[in-house]
């Protein structure tokens, strides 16, 4: 609970600095890179988590990996986080930052599950509809699950827009069962 509070604070300050310096896009791309590297390399994450390894060592490791790949500001932020010995929260901070950036730009990620892959036309139709409802720019993450039979399920944060055939059938079943003694 406390760690998430800390992560939000660091992420917020990074976002604000990036907006001030007008390099939000490049910083965000850098952070995306660092986050995905951390995610795909458990060894690197382990090293950062390890309290036995000195922060100088961690900084030099991070510099060696990222210095040539990311901007100066981004590198400074990584060093700053390590210096404040919050490197164990680094990944969390980065994810929060990316999330906050999305909020700032009015972008929202939507998980869409379909029974079969949507055609481009269907995608743009769905985008049009959802953007009208949510009033935000939409970034789709598609996945296919034949179990929903037909239609689609779109999830935005906690809210689910369920237009799947499976759910409709469940609703019909519920309506038929309501008031019957078997529910007791």
């Amino acid at each position: 609970m406390r760690s998430s509070k800390v992560a939000i604070r660091y992420a917020n300050s990074l976002l604000e600095t990036a907006i001030e310096n007008q390099n939000l896009d490049s910083v965000a791309a850098d952070m995306q890179l660092v986050a995905s590297t951390l995610g795909s390399n458990p060894l690197l994450a382990k090293v950062l988590m390890n309290p036995v390894i000195k922060s100088e060592k961690k900084i030099s490791i991070l510099k060696e990996i990222f210095e040539s790949r990311i901007g100066k500001d981004s590198m400074n932020f990584l060093v700053f986080v390590v210096n404040k010995s919050r490197e164990n929260l680094l990944r969390e901070i980065l994810l929060k930052f990316l999330r906050l950036r999305d909020d700032h730009l009015g972008i929202i990620k939507v998980n869409v599950t379909t029974a079969f892959e949507f055609s481009d036309e269907q995608q743009s139709l769905l985008r049009e509809k959802l953007e009208a409802v949510l009033n935000k720019k939409i970034e789709f993450i598609f996945s296919v699950n034949p179990e929903i039979i037909g239609g689609f399920v779109a999830q935005v944060d906690d809210v689910v827009f369920d237009a799947s055939l499976k759910h409709q059938l469940e609703l019909i079943k519920k309506q038929f069962l309501s008031g019957s003694p078997s529910l007791n």
Binding site: M1, S4, K5, Q155, D157, D158, V159, V160, F161, D162, A163, H167, Q168, L171, I172, Q175, G179, S180, P181, L183, N184
Partner: protein, 519 residues
């Protein structure tokens, strides 16, 4: 032969299905991150409300009790084995509510309003939330009508009014439930035409069983049925085998049901049997939800748990229909210790208490009510005038008797007045004894107490008092029935009634003695 045409069938099907809308269903979800012991921690559900009902898979419902920074603590109303980590949780956007209405009478239901008596579905379309705010000052008025329990000791000395909260407290096996069940059975009278003519409004009863054995609940239901009391009674059952969350909400759903009657200008009596078990269930929940424990490991808000429940009992103002909800909470003490946490709390919330003691019970005084420390703070206003008049001296006489009782045990020489006080007290105690499931109508109570306090029993041996009481009431019913009728109608003791009572008693005592001599 008449045939059913296929197009007819499809028309019917279409009609039945027409209520179904196949639009996009929008709902909020979360994910279970931890589950067990009837508690689930849910990630997500960011917009959920406190005490909102949420739906887990497999038709398990839960209620949100804890709203934390990044998770939500829910209690489950079903088997927690049916819920797994990672399951999807849906908001229902409803606070926990239950069906209410007259259709619930005569039924045994779970705290969520589902019938469990095998009599089929309950047809009611009215729903009320289980947790409701108690009424304010403006909506209320003082208690003024009596609720007759049919138990002489209570109706005479610890009278209960409609809208009152009277605690029944005592150790295990002292007859707490018996008092409550007798009170329910006695309400049968209020549903008769005779009561209607006398202006006595019917009282609907709700018996909430919390954490009891299912066999005990079945016994109570059977007894109520046997005495024809189920017609106006609902039993809300959360047996010991039910999950703690259900035991915790059971009294609230009982109160909700009672409030339906109250708010519609009717009268209801709700019995919470018992609140110590509810507090224990709530303690279990709170500890599992990691709320900090306080005294006796109860959470800090255990007082509020009971005060918000009992505060819902009330007598409505005439503008709102004048309905009432009377509450008889029951608390079980351990070894007569009323200074434990829960008993002191509930004593301070209620408008009086009825103490039942195991030594009285064992000495054969049943109902085992200790009238010395039992009180009713508001019920006196509700007593009928006749009862007030005869019972006034009763309490005094019994107090004097108890004071002298200790002396008498020394066997020292006692003067005449002391002996008389003792003899009278012993007869009064005998007079207040009463069998289970045999409530006494108020007019009969008035007569027998009048005879007791006015020294008509002096010549009757103590062991004969019970028989005498029974027979004299029968005698009056047969020969001087107008005494009962007049007390019922006038509700006070006029000089006429008093002289008639004296005449009848003297007449009966002379015959009673004679039969005694033959023996």
């Amino acid at each position: 032969m008449a045939e059913v045409r296929p197009d007819e069938i499809s028309a019917i099907l279409r009609k039945q299905l027409s209520g179904f809308e196949s639009e996009v269903d929008i709902y909020d979800v979360g994910k279970v991150i931890q589950v067990g012991d009837g508690i689930a921690r849910v990630y997500g559900l960011t917009k959920v409300m406190a005490s909102e009902l949420v739906e887990f898979p497999n038709d398990v419902f839960g209620m949100v009790l804890n709203l934390e920074e990044d998770s939500v603590g829910c209690v489950l109303f079903g088997d927690s084995a049916l819920v797994k980590e990672g399951d999807e949780v849906k908001r229902t956007k409803k606070v926990a509510s239950m069906p209410v209405g007259e259709a619930m009478l005569g039924r045994v239901i779970t705290p969520l309003g589902l019938p469990i008596d095998g009599k089929g579905a309950i047809n009611t379309d009215k729903f009320l939330p289980i947790e409701r705010k108690a009424l304010g000052v403006i909506q209320r008025q003082p208690v003024k009508e009596p609720i007759q329990t049919g138990i002489v000791a209570i109706d005479a000395m610890i009278p209960i009014g409609r809208g009152q909260r009277e605690l029944i407290i005592g150790d295990r096996q002292t007859g707490k439930t018996a008092v409550a069940v007798d009170a329910i059975i006695n309400q049968k009278y209020t549903h008769t035409d005779e009561a209607k003519n006398l202006g006595i409004q019917p009282v609907y009863c709700i018996y909430v069983a919390v954490g009891q054995k299912s066999s005990t609940i079945a016994q109570v239901v059977a007894k109520l049925q046997e005495h024809g009391a189920m017609d106006y009674t609902t039993v809300v059952a959360a047996a010991a085998s039910e999950p703690a969350p259900l035991q915790f909400i059971a009294p609230y759903s009982g109160a909700t049901l009672g409030e339906y009657f109250r708010d519609n200008g009717m009268h209801a009596l709700v019995i919470y049997d018992d609140l110590s078990k509810q507090a224990a269930a709530y303690r279990e929940l709170s500890l599992l939800l990691r709320r900090p424990p306080g005294r006796e490991a109860y959470p800090g808000d255990v007082f509020y748990l009971h005060s918000r429940l009992l505060e819902r009992a009330s007598k409505l103002s005439d503008d709102l229909g004048g309905g009432s909800l009377t509450a008889l909470p029951i608390i079980e003490t351990q070894q007569g210790d009323v200074s434990a946490y829960i008993p002191t709390n509930v004593i301070s919330i209620t408008d009086g208490q009825i103490y039942l003691e195991s030594n009285l019970f064992n000495a054969g005084v049943r109902p085992a009510i200790n009238v010395g420390i039992s009180v009713s703070r508001v019920g006196g206003n509700a007593q009928i005038k006749a009862m007030k008049k005869v019972a006034g001296t009763l309490k005094l006489d019994l107090a004097q008797y108890r004071e002298l009782e200790a002396f008498a045990k020394f066997g020292s020489d006692l003067d005449k007045t002391t002996r008389r006080t003792l003899a009278k007290g012993a007869r009064l105690v005998e007079l207040l004894k009463q069998g289970q499931y045999s409530p006494v109508p108020v007019e009969r109570q008035v007569v027998s107490i009048y005879l007791g306090t006015n020294d008509f029993l002096e010549s009757i041996p103590v062991h004969d008092i019970n028989r005498f009481e029974k027979e004299v009431l029968e005698f009056i019913e047969v020969k001087y029935n107008h005494i009962f009728e007049n007390i019922k109608k006038e509700k006070q003791l006029s000089d006429n009634i008093i002289s008639d009572m004296q005449k009848a008693a003297e007449e009966f005592i002379s015959t009673f003695k004679k039969s005694e001599k033959v023996l």
